[in-house]
């Protein structure tokens, strides 16, 4: 059930998905509020015991994103069914479907089937293509682009923070990574305007690949972006919420109906399947996955060398801290760091920091900050102005993305810890470590389209905005 969302989202009133959660005011619109307190009870008594005895109410993901009543309250089961059914009905209808796979989902399937992530990738390509899918891409490729944009943005913010100028600059450090929608949703709904300026404006790898596919690849493949159905395969349900944000819909001029001034609305990512849902699909189709043939990969948007080897950055949650750290060390201080970065565990294994010292002074202080409790501490430090980090890679899930709520569950007898360890190992199995800046596909994207990191074009397509969700009075009242 709602366990599938990241724990950060789950912290909210996510406990019941059939009846909307107690504070869900979207669902109560138009319904008589049934929450009058039993007279014998104190006003302190929570009202949630009286389940709404009305018909189940449908709440769209968009309603849920816009509402301040709780962190989220999505009908998970319905969502699940919808995504897979919708995906199948779209392929069956003969719509041009494009699938983009996350490396975390590949690792999850690889561990489940006891094969390598590369094999998973090739077999999934076979499976999807046999269903009629046009192309299967890799979000580590778009992630390299997102990483470059983040590096570039960080340098700008860092320089700004160093000029302690008279006008108070409105951007200051730390920079908080933006790739995790569980964290973004929490920041917008629970934390609000004081934290949002610290969040990097760069889109997540999922939305980056969405923008690339719908803006560029469709044309190159001779497909119309408004017809293409783009599906990503992700480690969490939170990515579904992300894909449904209004910020990730753009308009193009309609050529056919030039007379009408309404443009056509294009959604970057039309649907998200979780790793678990892909397993379901495999089971549904009754294929012997391990025995499935292996197809060549679509090289257009996939981190694969001519020799057929996968490559990408280290770091199973996207490698944001690591990549930006290396880049900043080199660019700002001329230090090229060889070998692995020395991340030191601070309070627990989900909070690790790395620093760069120049002449005895700490000039860069970065950290990985995963899971709700660590996130809390950082957010509080920022609020009281006592956070001395320059960059934080924030992920809502403890252990990060390999532990996403949409990943395949541990096998009977397997502990969650063991599974994570296995996933960590498999994640980089036969994957060449490569600098995003030397990714030929990304280079080409800049040359042919985005010009350079941080350009106007890049800003338009690869960056986004965050909006504090204002607490509505109804939501407040409901708290009694």
């Amino acid at each position: 059930m709602s366990e599938k969302f990241s724990p950060t989202l789950r912290i909210g009133d996510l406990s019941d998905f059939i009846a909307p959660s107690q504070a869900c005011i979207v669902s109560l619109k138009g319904l008589k509020s049934s929450s009058s307190n039993p007279s014998a009870n104190k006003p302190e008594v929570s009202t949630s015991n009286q389940q709404l005895k009305t018909e189940p109410v449908k709440i769209s993901l968009k309603d849920c994103l816009a509402c301040s009543g709780c962190v989220t309250s999505a009908e998970t089961i319905m969502l699940e069914k919808q995504s897979l059914d919708e995906f199948l009905s779209n392929v069956n209808k003969g719509k041009p479907v494009i699938v983009s796979l996350s490396p975390q989902s590949r690792a999850s399937l690889a561990v489940h089937f006891g094969i390598s992530p590369l094999q998973v990738f090739k077999k999934l390509t076979t499976l999807f293509k046999s269903l009629g899918v046009k192309a299967v891409f890799d979000t580590s490729c778009s992630r390299d682009l997102a990483l470059i944009e983040t590096c570039n943005e960080f340098i700008a913010w860092y320089k700004k923070s160093q000029m302690n100028d008279d006008e108070r600059c409105n951007t200051s450090l730390p920079m908080l990574s933006s790739a995790c929608p569980g964290w973004i949703c929490y920041a917008e709904k629970q934390l609000g305007s004081y934290i949002l300026p610290y969040i990097s404006s760069v889109k997540s790898p999922q939305q980056t690949i969405g923008a690339i596919v719908k803006n560029l690849i469709c044309q190159q493949m001779d497909l119309r972006p408004d017809e293409v159905y783009h599906v990503t395969v992700m480690p969490c349900y939170d990515k579904k919420l992300e894909a449904s944000r209004d910020d990730f819909v753009f308009q193009v001029e309609s050529e056919a109906k030039a007379s009408e001034n309404e443009g056509i609305k294009i959604t970057e990512v039309d649907s998200v399947l979780t790793s678990g849902e892909v397993l379901e699909l495999i089971q549904l189709k009754g294929v012997d996955f391990k025995a499935l043939e292996e197809s060549p990969l679509d090289r257009m948007l996939t981190n694969v060398t001519e020799e057929g080897e996968l490559y990408g950055v280290c770091g199973s949650s996207g490698g944001y801290a690591e990549t930006v750290f290396r880049y900043a060390a080199k660019l700002l201080f001329g230090k090229e760091i060889k070998g692995p970065l020395d991340f030191r565990t601070i309070r627990n294994s989900d909070f690790r920091e790395v620093t760069l010292e120049v002449e005895g002074k700490t000039v860069l202080k970065f950290a990985l900050c995963y899971g709700f409790r660590n996130l809390q501490n950082i957010v509080r430090k920022i609020k009281i102005g006592k956070c001395d980090y320059h960059f934080l890679e924030i992920m809502a899930c403890p252990s990060g993305c390999l532990n996403g709520g949409g990943q395949i569950k541990p096998k009977p007898g397997q502990s969650a810890k063991d599974l994570i360890q296995l996933l960590e190992t498999v994640y980089m199995e036969n994957v060449l470590v490569a600098d995003p800046f030397s990714n030929p596909f990304v280079k080409r994207l800049y040359d042919e389209w985005l010009e350079q990191p941080g350009s106007e074009k890049a800003k338009r397509h690869m960056h986004t905005e965050y909006h504090p969700v204002v607490k509505s009075i109804t939501a407040q009242l409901h708290n009694w």
Binding site: P7, I11, D13, A40, E44, V45, N348, N377, N479
Partner: protein
């Protein structure tokens, strides 16, 4: 002990007025009332304030020494002193927990802990004062660790209760946390790996437990819990009109490095006819309860069991009808030598009582 013969009377020492709304909770400063230090306690209220009360050494009467206001924006639901008596934690419906420090008689808010999504219901310090637990209507229990300079770091966010968590309470000697909830259960939390790896190690009264446990659990909201002095027994009180006594085998608890399973020992029923909001176990093993029927009751172990082998394990020592004009929300025994009890009520007042032998 001479408690058994029941010749006791409850003397009302003083009625304290000042709060302008219902008084939710009380906490005695644990280092007062001994060695000539005058008694101090804190009270918190629906009027959004916390009041600090002190007994005047000369007149022995109680006076309000400080009003802590303008920090919490809604009801202050709970308060707790750190074991050293230096810090006071207050939890509020405004979703925050404030930490106050006594600086030469002035109380300064030195830290505000945010994170709970909605109303904080209870706060509790562990025996060493290094950890603070909070719980809220958001169904979660949080553990915070005090750092230098009154900074607090969140070390755990514990999810497990399915409803509003009413109270958190640390074990009096071990770092084991207990919480009770609107979901009718009591949960026991321990740091199993010793690496901030907090998890629920036991649920008392889980509805889907085996039949034996089903009978022993509370059948409605568990409002409060309290430990006996040595920490091998615990009492819980509930909306189901009962008190329940739970016990743990101390020897196995010590060998198991803290946690050993708790067992239901007995249920005290038939004495209350309205919700029991508060319960507190004294050093002398007198259990006080405060309930929605405005009364305060005292229970003691039934040593002679009325001559029966399986007679009731606890019996009513005495009952103070109309202790307050409205619900009694909190009863707390004082530290120190005297047998003092403070009670807080919906009627906006606090009363100080002394349980004294009848002088005949």
């Amino acid at each position: 002990m001479e408690l058994e013969d029941g010749r006791f009377e409850l003397r009302e020492i003083q009625k304290l007025e000042g709060h302008t709304d219902r008084v939710w909770s009380l906490a005695w400063n644990p280092v007062t009332g001994v060695a000539g230090i005058p008694y101090v306690f804190a009270s918190c209220s629906g009027d959004k304030t916390v009041r600090i009360w002190e007994q005047s050494p000369s007149t022995a009467s109680w006076e309000c020494k400080a009003v802590l206001e303008d920090t919490h924006t809604r009801t202050v639901r709970s308060c707790a002193w750190s074991p050293s008596g230096k810090l006071l934690a207050t939890g509020s419906f405004d979703a925050t927990t404030a930490i106050w420090e006594n600086v030469g008689g002035d109380y300064e808010c030195v830290s505000t802990l945010e994170g709970h999504e909605n109303e904080v219901k209870s706060v509790s310090w562990n025996a060493s004062g290094t950890l603070l637990a909070t719980c809220a209507r958001d169904k979660t229990v949080w553990i915070w660790e005090g750092e230098q300079g009154n900074e607090f770091d969140c070390v755990a966010v514990l999810q497990g209760h399915t409803q509003d968590v009413k109270m958190v309470q640390w074990h009096p000697t071990m770092d084991i946390l207990f919480s009770c909830s609107y979901d009718n259960t009591i949960k026991v939390w321990a740091d199993e790996g010793g690496d901030d790896d907090w998890a629920c190690v036991q649920t008392l009264g889980e509805p889907n437990n085996c039949a034996g446990f089903l009978v022993s659990g509370h059948s409605s909201t568990v409002w409060a819990l309290s430990f006996n002095h040595s920490g091998d027994k615990m009492v819980t009180c509930s909306d189901d009109l009962t008190l329940k006594i739970w016990g743990v085998d101390t020897i196995s608890a010590q060998s198991a490095n803290g946690y050993a399973p708790w067992r239901h020992l007995c249920t005290i029923s038939g004495y209350h006819d309205r919700t029991i909001f508060s319960v507190h176990w004294s050093r002398e093993d007198i259990i006080a309860s405060g309930a929605a029927d405005d009364a305060i009751r005292f229970f003691v172990e039934n040593k002679d069991k009325d001559g029966l082998v399986d007679g009731p394990l606890y019996k009513l020592l005495m009952k103070e009808e109309k202790a307050h004009d409205m619900d009694v929300n909190s009863v707390q025994w004082s530290p120190g030598e005297k047998r003092l009890l403070a009670s807080a009520s919906d009627d906006g007042t606090i009363k100080i009582w002394e349980l004294a032998p009848v002088s005949c």
